[in-house]
Symmetry: C2
Subunit: 309 residues, 2 copies
Amino acid sequence: MINYTLRQLHYFLAVAEAGSISAAATASHISQAAMSQAMDDLERAVGAQLLVRRRARGVELTAVGTVFLHDARELMRHAEEVQGQIIERQTTLAGPLVIGCYSSLAAFWIPVICEKFTKPNPGLSVTLVEGDGAELQQQMLKGHLDVVLTHTRHLLPQVHHRTVMSGRPYVLVAANHRLAARSSVRLSELAEEDFVGLDLPTVRDNQLVNLRMSGLDPKVRWSSQSFEAVRGMVARGLGYTVLVQRPPVNVSYDGLPLAVLEIEGPVGVSDICVAYTASERPSLRLRAFLDFCEQVGAKRDAGDARGSS
Amino acid sequence: MINYTLRQLHYFLAVAEAGSISAAATASHISQAAMSQAMDDLERAVGAQLLVRRRARGVELTAVGTVFLHDARELMRHAEEVQGQIIERQTTLAGPLVIGCYSSLAAFWIPVICEKFTKPNPGLSVTLVEGDGAELQQQMLKGHLDVVLTHTRHLLPQVHHRTVMSGRPYVLVAANHRLAARSSVRLSELAEEDFVGLDLPTVRDNQLVNLRMSGLDPKVRWSSQSFEAVRGMVARGLGYTVLVQRPPVNVSYDGLPLAVLEIEGPVGVSDICVAYTASERPSLRLRAFLDFCEQVGAKRDAGDARGSS
């Protein structure tokens, strides 16, 4: 059982160097009383007198103190080395980072993460896990994941998050739809038309609620779990849809043209965020990933689809 | 327990109309002996003499036969009505049809199915289920699905299938890749480069085996469950990939250009097929769906991405 602290050793070295408690206290930016107390505590902790205190507050090392000074210097150097290695390791982003990515965001975020975050940091061991936003957060709370890239709408109450990109929904219609030439529409203008739904749990649970709160009760006539199948059905005139992610080309996988319409008036947004668990001090790699996503999101919010130029 | 057959009734009506067994046999295109036998069998079945046979092979109805003639006419009309309803119902494609669709094919097939098969046949109650190709076939064998649209490589041994579209793999690289200007490559030219894998169970299990049999052992360095994330990673120069489905636009979701290269020499194909269970007589709606997919696939094989123009 070690009873002394590294702080006490640090002060002891300062006293030995300065030759007096008052000078060491001044150099260490603490009071003389605190420095004097620290020396008393250190001597009690090691069970030996290290210093001979003189009237004029000068000090001399005892024989034991002289030997201890040597050992203390070596120990402090070692402790600094250990600390330095920690810092260096954190500066080059080493260690494991398990990133969960909500499936709907995978196509938009995984490529830029791999190219601009994983690849330039070979010391990092990044694992990407794709899945449902809420399920991934559950896994994170159990300790299996470090972070989850998802929508703010899907956040569990127990997690922390940083919003990294805005996600305002838009209306998608076929290029030959009666409203396709417009740049924006009110949701109420579509109330009588068939809706093509993206049939994923988190979308289902959130989007329809969101649309109803925005005054539209969509007539869900068609649906698919595939984002591009939804776009394809819209392109074929089976109905309109409301989506958040925006591919750069308004053409379906069938080669049919689509038109994007902004939504006029208030509508619930579904921003993109990085969720993480509370911890006293998030690791450097976690903070680096948060910063990275924030930078990509800001560039995309500014109109750069790549988020990396 | 009914012992007579509709065929016997049909012949009995013919005999009553013609007034003789020989004339009725001629009209019905069977032999006199067969007609005579049919009348004997019918009388034995109903347990009563219906006809009085005369020497010149003329016949007269008994009193019981006269009453039976009326009932038989009514029953035959009813039976024809039932038959007619069956035909009509089958001609307008009524009834349930549960279609399984392998997830990777959803974006390419669900829109055209909904527009050109489901919507024009409102009497049909079509349910589309998306999932893993092998799992969907297992569900079909348990009776939960009628058909499964999948790859020939994923077929379970117990199912029947009809191939509807060819699926020759191709190489995808970034537009600034050293080989991007070529129209085709040998797989061996890519052996030293990183591979970006589409990490779906059926792809994993089949594609790598397929590529190894074609002489390439891919160095899988990156992967995603998302088709567009794979394309995005390729567009960012992280590696090449081998895919089968061909979206019409060679641009990733990040807005980065891609290049498609055909594969020179022999390579295992992964055709698209409709799997169904063996049954003595597949329903008209099942056959209609098989024909529909075959037509769409043939048009796509001929270069029409929509498969429906």
